[in-house]
């Protein structure tokens, strides 16, 4: 997972990648909770595949999808790339595999590889941009990258300050550094 998230959102000199931002931790926690078990979704059958417009009809929960998807990905890599699992490939090789999965060229045995990839494309950015209390966006790196102030609630002094950069650092539900007394 850490390898995957670092390719979906690679590190660069200004901003960490998915791994250091905690995206894998985020996804791990989400899959452990109600999102992973599709709690709250309508789970009665029959499960019939319909049109794209009718929405997902698979009985697979996200947790099951990830388990099968990760296993399928490693099996694919081992088969096609000299016996190595995904995490041991080079970054370029990893990108190449992911592109093939995205295009539908790489197929996994018992799960829809494209469906798995679509879930990744949703979940990894969520891990990058959600509040750090959920495990990702460590140190609010995602928010700092774009200039999103987080949970701040009062912008009345700024609505009419047009075309002016908002200068204050982001805040998460867990606060920010400035909430703590500096030892000076």
């Amino acid at each position: 997972m850490e390898a995957i998230v670092d390719r979906i959102i690679p590190p660069d000199p200004q901003t960490p990648g998915g791994k250091d931002a905690g995206c894998a931790v985020f996804i791990d926690r989400q899959l452990k909770g109600p999102y992973g078990s599709a709690a709250g979704h309508y789970r009665l059958g029959p499960f019939i595949k319909g049109t794209k417009e009718q929405g997902p009809q698979s009985p697979l929960t996200p947790a099951e999808l990830y388990r099968k998807g990760l296993a399928g990905l490693d099996r694919y890599c081992k088969a096609k790339l000299g016996g190595k699992p995904f995490s041991q490939l080079s970054a370029d090789q990893q990108d190449d595999v992911l592109k093939k999965v995205e295009a539908g060229e790489a197929k996994f045995d018992d799960v829809d590889a494209r469906g798995f990839f679509d879930a990744l494309l949703k979940d990894v950015p969520e891990g990058f941009f959600s509040d750090p209390i959920h495990g990702g966006n460590r140190d609010m790196v995602g928010w700092k990258m774009i200039g999103f102030p987080g949970i701040r609630y009062d912008y009345r002094d700024w609505v009419h300050r047009h075309n002016e950069r908002y200068p204050y650092p982001p805040v998460s539900i867990a606060g920010r550094m400035d909430w703590n007394v500096k030892k000076s």
Binding site: K52, E53, F148, W158
Partner: protein
């Protein structure tokens, strides 16, 4: 075996906007009222305080305030020859759950319909001829006029402290307001909200193109306000966590912030939450409701007898309950007979995303409210000549961007890879300098013979009852309308100085996975003819006179505006009729 509770005068099914309005009106008239709400009670400080309400993942992505499809959902198909499949997780619309209903998490965009919207078939036929309308378009006149509803629109706007700029007061057109609006008796109770940079720039470009932009009427307070019931709201702080979220500082109009504090003090009002009504009970004649049956959290069944039943459970739950309770004749699209389920509609929404030079434009998209924005109404309703364009209907359009929440709103130009270093770079570069209104083009959806609701033959809810089945697709009229409007909308962003403007037309087939407002309408429509409507002009059920059905389920077709203002105005109008006419002489109010 349901246990029978002591009888009440009124049973109200669902404690959202209309449930709260009716509960207050009828309790104030001295009746003994009970409201039964499927979801939980919700309060500002305990359910969405500023300390954790602004959690995009929890409330926008995981939909914590909304109904769980596991509790109930619908099935969907585009065409009658398909098998409908369950909506296993929400997409195209997001039904509410809990006290306050949609009023807790709505944008608070508070519009009135146009006078012509209420007499749509007559008006369009007169202007363009009957042959101009598609043959399978089933639009109807409502049976009530704008002028009749005007005092009730006013009442809701003053209840909510709606912040706006009047455009037409008693016939006098006022600069800065909507020149197309129907005449109102007086201005809004609060001045418009402040507008951020993007909306202001949009308005300037629109003006330069010859349009008359005006601020969107907003149920987010532009200043502290005390409503006529004595309830107070605080000033909106433009936090950018409005729609999908509860408001943490009492500045968004909701039942909680406008009516419930007074309602819960009335000794003749009581409520049950976490109790789902499963049936409206009828007597042996089938023409009189005797009360409702509901199920509590433990699965116990209860019967609540009542002399008067108000069905205010939200559009499609209203229709489903009528069908399951065997009230009114179910609609048959093939035979074109029956009324329950016919004229079902949604909204025709599209968006335009534009990219500006990051060196020159800083939009601070996170500074917003749910009903912020500058709009134009030149292309709504029949405000323009449709003869040359070959479709009817329209909608308002505006830079109504409500947020810069990064999971939802991090636009990248077309052609950008969906992941990787280039994607990351594009997100970073464009976040502050892009404009993504959201429901930028807010078009009408008129009604058609083959777009309707009935009961599904296969799928059941957790009680074993059939789910409601939605058969819906876009028709050519709406697709044409949307292309026309979207093109006009894009021109304005071009004129704003965007370096790239990306149009996302709404296209058929209707897709249940793409969010396009929760403005479902119809299915239990109002009208003057019991053959083609379920309720009369006072929202009274033709078949069961002691049942009144609130909500957008009564709209014969949907107009190019958010429905809540009209839903609430109709509720007040109906409440007046109940109090002043029905209670004095219970029975069918209209002889049709």
């Amino acid at each position: 075996m349901a246990q029978k509770l002591p009888a009440k005068d009124v049973a109200i099914i669902g404690l959202g906007w209309t449930g709260s309005i009716l509960a207050h009106e009828l309790a104030a008239a001295g009746l003994d009222v009970i409201a039964i709400e499927r979801g939980p009670w919700r309060n500002t400080a305990t359910d969405y305080p500023p300390g954790y309400a602004p959690d995009e993942l929890r409330f926008r992505i995981r939909h914590e305030l909304f109904l769980r499809p596991a509790q109930t959902t619908f099935t969907f198909r585009n065409k009658m020859n398909q098998t409908a499949l369950p909506i296993r997780s929400w997409g195209a619309f997001m039904p509410p759950n809990g006290v306050g209903g949609g009023g807790v998490h709505w944008n608070a965009e508070t519009w009135r319909f146009l006078p012509s919207d209420f007499v749509l078939r007559t008006h369009l036929t007169q202007r363009y001829g009957a042959a101009f309308l598609p043959q399978d378009m089933t639009i109807q006149d409502w049976g009530v006029t704008f002028d009749e509803l005007e005092p009730h629109y006013d009442r809701f706007e003053y209840l909510c402290g709606t912040s706006g700029q009047a455009g037409n007061v008693k016939g006098q057109i006022i600069d800065g307001g909507n020149p197309f609006e129907g005449p109102r008796s007086r201005p809004y109770p609060n001045p418009p909200q402040d507008q951020p940079f993007g909306a202001t720039l949009f308005a300037k470009a629109a003006r330069d193109l010859g349009y008359k932009p005006f601020p969107q009427p907003s149920g987010n307070m532009s200043r502290a306000y005390q409503n006529p019931l004595g309830v107070r709201l605080g000033p909106c702080t433009y936090c950018g966590f409005c729609e999908w979220f509860g408001c943490g500082n009492y500045s968004k109009a909701s039942p909680q912030t406008t009516i419930l504090p007074v309602l819960v003090r009335m000794k003749n009002f009581s409520a049950r939450d976490n109790s789902e009504v499963t049936r409206i009970n009828l007597d042996a004649s089938g023409k009189r409701a005797t009360g409702v049956t509901f199920v509590d959290m433990d699965g116990n069944e209860w019967e609540q007898p009542a002399d008067l039943v108000i069905l205010s459970a939200y559009t499609i739950f209203n229709v489903q309950l009528l069908l399951l309770s065997k009230i009114g004749k179910p609609y048959d699209p093939v035979a074109n007979s029956g009324v329950i389920g016919r004229n079902f509609t949604h909204q025709t929404i599209s968006d335009v995303t534009s990219f500006f030079d990051p060196q020159k434009f800083i939009f601070n998209p996170f500074i917003a409210s749910g009903a912020i924005g500058m709009c134009i109404d030149e292309f709504n309703g029949d405000n323009f000549d449709h003869g040359p364009v070959g479709f009817v209907g329209g909608g308002y359009m505006g830079q109504v961007q409500t947020n810069g929440r990064p999971i939802e709103t991090a636009p990248v130009p077309p052609g950008t890879p969906r992941w990787g270093a280039q994607w990351k770079k594009a997100v970073k570069e464009n976040y502050q300098s892009a404009q993504k209104p959201g429901t930028g083009v807010h078009g009408s959806m008129y009604s058609y013979r083959d777009v309707y609701v009935d009961l599904d033959p296969i799928y059941k809810d957790r009680f074993g009852r059939p789910l409601a089945r939605i058969t819906m697709d876009f028709h050519d009229n709406e697709i044409k309308q949307n292309k026309f409007l979207t093109d006009k909308f894009a021109e304005i962003f071009q004129a704003m100085g965007a370096k790239q403007v990306v149009k996302e037309y709404r296209k058929a087939p209707y897709d249940i996975t793409k969010y396009q407002t929760t403005h479902l309408c119809g299915g239990a429509i109002m009208g003057t003819d019991p053959q083609t409507s379920a309720i009369n002009r006072y929202l009274q059920c033709w078949d069961v006179p002691n049942l009144f059905v609130m909500g957008a389920s009564g709209f014969p077709q949907n107009a190019g505006y958010n429905p809540t203002g009209t839903v609430a105005a109709l509720a007040y109008w109906s409440a007046d009729a109940i109090r002043d006419k029905y209670l004095k002489n219970p029975g069918q109010l209209i002889n049709a």
